[in-house]
C-alpha cells in the first residue's frame, strides 16, 4: 500500500471509527472521565483534515507523523498523547518505507505498543489500550497475506477486549474504581478494536 492509498484507507476507517464515539464515551464514563468519545471523534476529524493537506508524494512515515500531531492537538487528553507518541514511534520504523506491507504493519504496531507501554508505564493485563494492541501485534507476527493478517488481528484484539471485562483497571482514573472496574470492557482497547474493524470495512471491494 503506497502513500495515497494509505491516506484513503485512513480517511475511510476514521470516518467509520467516529460512529463508535458514543459507545466509547459511554464506556469511558463508566470507568474514566468520559472524554474518550471526544478524543476519538475530534482526533479522527483532525487527522482526516491533516492528511488532506499532505502532498501526493507524502511517504507512509510522513502520513503517520501528520496523523500523530493532529490527533495529539485535537483534544489533548492523556489518551491522545499516548496514541500520538505511539504513531510517532511507529513512523520511525517506517523511515525508508514507501510501500506498506504486512511486515511493516507488524513492525509499526510493535513500536507503537512499546511506546504506550513505556510512556503509560503499563503492561498487558493492566486493562488499557495496550491489551488490545499487544494482542494484535502477536497475531500479526509471521503473517504474510494482508486480509488474513487483518482478520487474525481483529480476532485477537476482540478476544483481548472481551478478556478486559474480567480485569481490574490498574492505570489512570479507572484504577481508582478498584474492583468496581471489573465487568466493563476497557474503553481504550475497545477503541483500538473498533479502529481495526473499521479498517477492514474500509477495504476497497475487489471485483470478482
Amino acid at each position: 500500500m503506497q502513500g495515497n492509498e494509505l491516506k484513503e484507507r485512513i480517511r475511510e476507517s476514521l470516518t467509520g471509527l467516529i460512529e463508535s464515539s458514543d459507545e466509547l464515551r459511554d464506556l469511558d464514563q463508566a470507568l474514566g472521565d468520559g472524554d474518550l468519545g471526544i478524543t476519538v471523534s475530534a482526533g479522527s476529524n483532525a487527522v482526516i483534515a491533516a492528511i488532506e493537506q499532505l502532498p501526493s508524494d507524502a511517504t507512509p512515515a510522513d502520513i503517520a507523523r501528520a496523523s500523530a500531531k493532529a490527533f495529539a492537538n485535537a483534544n489533548p487528553s492523556t489518551m491522545a498523547a499516548l496514541v500520538a507518541g505511539a504513531l510517532l514511534a511507529g513512523s520511525k520504523v517506517w523511515a525508508d518505507v514507501t510501500e506498506v506491507g504486512v511486515e511493516n504493519a507488524h513492525a509499526f504496531a510493535e513500536a507503537a505498543a512499546a511506546s504506550i507501554a513505556q510512556r503509560g508505564k503499563t503492561q498487558v493485563g493492566d486493562k488499557t489500550i495496550l491489551d488490545g494492541l499487544a494482542a494484535a501485534v502477536d497475531a500479526l507476527a509471521g503473517q504474510t497475506e494482508a486480509d488474513e493478517a487483518l482478520d487474525a488481528a481483529i480476532l485477537a484484539a476482540s478476544n483481548a477486549v472481551e478478556n478486559t471485562k474480567n480485569l481490574q483497571s490498574r492505570r489512570g482514573r479507572a484504577s481508582w474504581l478498584q474492583e468496581r472496574s471489573i465487568g466493563i470492557a476497557d474503553p481504550g482497547a475497545t477503541a483500538f478494536l473498533r479502529f481495526l474493524e473499521s479498517w477492514k470495512s474500509s477495504a476497497p471491494v475487489v471485483a470478482e
Binding site: P76, A81, A84
Partner: protein, 333 residues
C-alpha cells in the same frame, strides 16, 4: 465567587496579554498563540534553551520565570491543566539556538505526557532535548520514591541554576546535570489553610473544616500527610523545617538557601513570621542560610497557606543562584 475576571474562559489569555503589555522588553510570543511565551531575545544562538510549562493559576510559576538567566520559554495551560504538546513544541522551536533544549517542569502526569510528545516532535525537527522534572514535595512520596514526588515551589532553584548555566554557555548535557543536581538537593513542604475557587467551575479546590490545616498540601490542593487543628506559626515552622532537614540529611555546618513561599492569600507578614522561626531553627542546628527568598514564588490562585523549601548548597550551586537574572517576576543582581 468574587473574582476580578471577565469571561472565565478568557481568564488565561487575558492575564497573559497583560504580562505581554507590561513587559515587552522581557518576553514575547513567537507566534499567534498567547499560550507560548519566550524571552524577548530568543533564540540565543549557541546557547541551550530551557522550556518549562504547566497549568495556569500558579503565578509567578511558570511563566514568571522566563527571562535572562532563567528559562527561555514556557507553554501555558488552562488553570491547573497541562499545555498541549503543540504549544510546548512551538516554545521549543522558538528558543532553540542550535545547542539543544532542556525541558524543566514539575512532575505531573499530564505535563509529562505532553512534554514527552513534544520531545518526539522536536526530534523530528532535529532539535535535541533533555528532560529534568521538579519533584521536591517531600509530603507527596517517601524518600525512596523521591523521583515520583510532585513538583512545587522548589523548582525555582533549578530554574535559577540551570538558567545561569545555560546563559554562561554550558552544554545541554551539563545544564541538565546541574538542573538534576539541584532538584536532588531541594526539598519543600507546605500547609494549606483555605482553598482557591476555580474560575471556570466556581468550585473550591478542596474542603477544609474551620480551624483545621492540611499539612503537606500540594499546589493544586492535593491532600497532604495529615489534617489537624491549626497550629501557631512557630509550631508549623518547626514541623516543616524538621521534615526538610531530615529529608535532605542536613547536619551542622551545612549551607542552605531558604524559600518561604506564600500560596496566594497569605500575607507577607505571616511569611516573615514563618521565616523568623525557620531562621532561628536552622541557626540553632548550625546550618547557615546563604540565600533567602520570602514572598509569592509559586501560588495556587488565592489558596491560603505557605510552603518552605530548602536547597542544600555547595559552592557551585550558590554561585549559580547568585548569577544575574531578570524576568517579569524575579530579579537577581
Amino acid at each position: 465567587m468574587r473574582k476580578i475576571i471577565n469571561a472565565p474562559d478568557a481568564f488565561v489569555d487575558e492575564f497573559v496579554e497583560g504580562i505581554l503589555l507590561a513587559h515587552p522588553d522581557l518576553v514575547k510570543t513567537p507566534g499567534e498563540d498567547l499560550r507560548v511565551l519566550v524571552r524577548a531575545d530568543a533564540p540565543t544562538t549557541g546557547r541551550v534553551g530551557i522550556v518549562t510549562g504547566g497549568g495556569s493559576g500558579h503565578l509567578p510559576l511558570f511563566k514568571g520565570y522566563v527571562g535572562k538567566g532563567l528559562c527561555s520559554g514556557v507553554a501555558i495551560g488552562n488553570v491547573f491543566s497541562s499545555p498541549s504538546s503543540e504549544q510546548i513544541h512551538e516554545a521549543t522551536k522558538a528558543v532553540d539556538g542550535g545547542a539543544g533544549v532542556l525541558y524543566l517542569y514539575g512532575n505531573y502526569g499530564g505535563d509529562v505526557f505532553n512534554f514527552d510528545l513534544a520531545a518526539d516532535l522536536a526530534e523530528l525537527d532535529g532539535i535535541e532535548t533533555r528532560t529534568v522534572l521538579g519533584c521536591d514535595d517531600v509530603a507527596s512520596q517517601p524518600k525512596e520514591r523521591a523521583s515520583d514526588r510532585r513538583g512545587v515551589a522548589g523548582i525555582i532553584f533549578a530554574y535559577k541554576a540551570a538558567g545561569a548555566a545555560a546563559d554562561r554557555g554550558d552544554t545541554l548535557q551539563r545544564v541538565a546535570e546541574i538542573a538534576e543536581d539541584v532538584v536532588q538537593h531541594t526539598a519543600t513542604m507546605g500547609i494549606g489553610l483555605a482553598p482557591t475557587i476555580l474560575p471556570t467551575t466556581g468550585q473550591p479546590s478542596f474542603v477544609l473544616p474551620e480551624g483545621e490545616m492540611e499539612v503537606g498540601i500540594g499546589i493544586h490542593g492535593e491532600p497532604g500527610i495529615r489534617r489537624g487543628a491549626l497550629e501557631t506559626a512557630d509550631e508549623i515552622a518547626g514541623h516543616l523545617v524538621e521534615a526538610l532537614i531530615a529529608d535532605l540529611g542536613l547536619a551542622s555546618g551545612a549551607r542552605v538557601a531558604v524559600l518561604v513561599n506564600g500560596l496566594g492569600a497569605t500575607p507577607l507578614e505571616e511569611l516573615y513570621v514563618l521565616y523568623r522561626k525557620t531562621h532561628q531553627l536552622l541557626e540553632a542546628k548550625g546550618i547557615t542560610i546563604a540565600k533567602n527568598y520570602i514572598g509569592e514564588y509559586a501560588t495556587s490562585l488565592e489558596m491560603a497557606g505557605a510552603s518552605i523549601s530548602l536547597l542544600d548548597l555547595n559552592d557551585e550551586r550558590l554561585a549559580l543562584l547568585e548569577a544575574p537574572a531578570k524576568s517579569p517576576f524575579f530579579q537577581e543582581g
